[in-house]
């Protein structure tokens, strides 16, 4: 897809938000034997300094090239283990590519494992502060967002109770409200978030749509073809760590469904 710029002032806006070129991502496979100092004490040293050959390297992603332009919404398709989640974590900067180029212009934020990292002994309010600080927000910013979070999560007075007294629904509501309190430039989603009862699910859906609207670009990995069709403009099909198809979303979905 090409975005045709009108006038020179659009030059900056035309710069792609995500640029990936021949990216490869490999991880060393860790064999249990490798780690036992007892069976092979020298492996500790040789592994670090000398022979790399003894470690098996697995290629998770290979030869990945694509760009995401402002306004583009990319749906990532593929079977389990195709490398979708890893790709998102690379875009979020959690993993580093082994080879190739990866440029992300703007803030990229992923909503991964949103319930992890909540402190059970802390109150809801304290958890908002902790997670907010971890997301690099200032105390003032967090303070301003608190009423909104409390309202959205419908926790009301329970916000002052420790998390260990919360029901699983309350926890999910809080985790969701905290995780979605900032709008990033580039939104990375590993499956659509949905939680709670019927009514709250509707609220979540609204909030997610709003997040998608306000972000400049979206990368969504999902098995839900219907969702991808309704949200995304472009599609990318991964298979065994390689891109097997990229193009507009209808063609990509067709390709993906055919290969199933």
């Amino acid at each position: 897809m090409d975005i045709v710029a009108e006038g020179a002032s659009e030059n900056k806006a035309r710069q792609p938000l995500i640029e990936v070129k021949n990216m490869r991502f490999q991880v060393p496979s860790i064999k249990a034997k490798d780690r036992q100092l007892l069976t092979n004490p020298l492996s500790f040293l040789s592994d670090m300094y000398l022979s790399r050959s003894r470690r098996k390297i697995i290629t998770i992603l290979d030869d990945i090239t694509f760009t995401v332009q402002p306004g583009e919404r990319l749906g990532v398709l593929g079977l389990n283990g195709a490398g979708k989640s890893t790709l998102l974590r690379l875009l979020a900067g959690i993993y580093q590519p082994t080879e190739g180029e990866l440029h992300v212009n703007g803030t990229a934020k992923g909503l991964f494992d949103i319930s992890l990292g909540m402190n059970q002994e802390a109150t809801g309010l304290e958890n908002i502060y902790m997670r907010g600080l971890q997301m690099r927000m200032s105390l003032k910013e967090i303070k301003n967002l608190i009423p909104e979070i409390v309202e959205f999560s419908e926790l009301h007075d329970a916000i002052g109770d420790t998390l260990s007294t919360y029901s699983s629904g309350m926890r999910l509501r809080l985790a969701f409200s905290i995780s979605t309190m900032v709008d990033p430039d580039i939104l990375l989603l590993d499956e659509w978030l949905g939680a709670g009862d019927e009514r709250f699910r509707k609220k979540i859906s609204e909030r997610m749509n709003k997040l998608v609207e306000s972000s400049k670009a979206l990368v969504l990995a999902s098995h839900n073809t219907q969702l991808i069709r309704s949200l995304c403009t472009n599609g990318l099909v991964l298979s065994k760590g390689r891109i097997v198809f990229q193009g507009n979303i209808d063609d990509a979905l067709e390709w993906h469904l055919k290969s199933l």
């Binding site: 979020a92 991964f112 990292g117 802390a122 902790m130 105390l139």
Partner: protein, 251 residues
């Protein structure tokens, strides 16, 4: 700077929350060492030759500093595993995690300074301007806590053996460091002297303890501590550059 303050605040919040369900909160940190000092101090000043007013301050400072040192060493090997969620969500980078962990250990230490203060009051130990030198030693120890967490954190994430090694070593190290015993007047000439020359923990402890007790610091202690600090920072930087990208895969 703003980022640092926010990290410190975050540490403080976590620190308080940890003691949420207790009555006296973080003061529990003081209880353990106080009992230790009281019991061992009274016992050892009876059975050994040293006088209580000499031995107990020696023991107290030694114990409190040792808690800091072993907190750094034992914490360093699992620092990244313990913050797995934060790292994999992408919110905190590895150095943030290290900073929070080291600051938590320092918070513990700050509470235990109370014990030293109380002991100094009881035994009327004069504090001179020279005592401020121990702040330099303390600062150097903090710096070592940082590089240690980076280096051991990376190696410990890859090789889980490291945590077992440090725990085993630190237990013995406590006994062989002059904390619950004193280096005799002529001790440096004997077999112990040779050992202490090559024993880094002793030098770290001396930089902090000697000024407080108005004892001179051996130039050797400065040399050892400074060279360990610089080479440690250098080594940690190298490992961080080379392996930090892979830590997220190992934890």
């Amino acid at each position: 700077m703003n980022h640092i303050t926010s990290l410190i605040f975050q540490t403080w919040l976590q620190f308080l929350v940890r003691y949420r369900r207790t009555f006296i909160g973080p003061l529990w940190i003081v209880v353990g060492p106080s009992l230790f000092v009281l019991t061992l101090g009274l016992l050892f000043s009876q059975i050994s030759g040293a006088k209580a007013e000499v031995f107990i301050p020696h023991l107290t400072i030694g114990l409190v500093v040792w808690t800091l040192v072993s907190g750094f060493v034992n914490g360093s090997t699992t620092v990244f595993q313990r913050s797995r969620a934060q790292i994999l969500q992408g919110g905190m980078n590895l150095l943030d995690v290290v900073f929070v962990d080291v600051t938590t250990t320092v918070f513990h230490f700050v509470h235990q300074i109370i014990i030293i203060g109380v002991v100094f009051l009881i035994f009327h130990i004069p504090v001179t301007v020279y005592a401020l030198v121990s702040l330099i030693g303390l600062f150097l120890l903090f710096a070592n806590g940082v590089w240690l967490a980076v280096l051991f954190g990376i190696i410990g994430a890859r090789y889980r053996d490291l945590v077992e090694v440090t725990q085993a070593v630190m237990r013995i190290a406590f006994l062989v460091t002059p904390i619950i015993w004193m280096v005799g007047e002529q001790g440096r000439g004997g077999i112990l002297g040779v050992f202490l020359v090559y024993y880094p923990f002793y030098h770290f402890l001396e930089l902090i303890r000697a000024p407080l007790l108005n004892n001179p610091i051996q130039p050797l202690s400065w040399i050892v501590v400074l060279s360990i600090t610089f080479s440690g920072v250098f080594l940690a930087r190298y490992y961080f550059k080379r392996y930090s990208g892979q830590v997220a895969l190992w934890i």
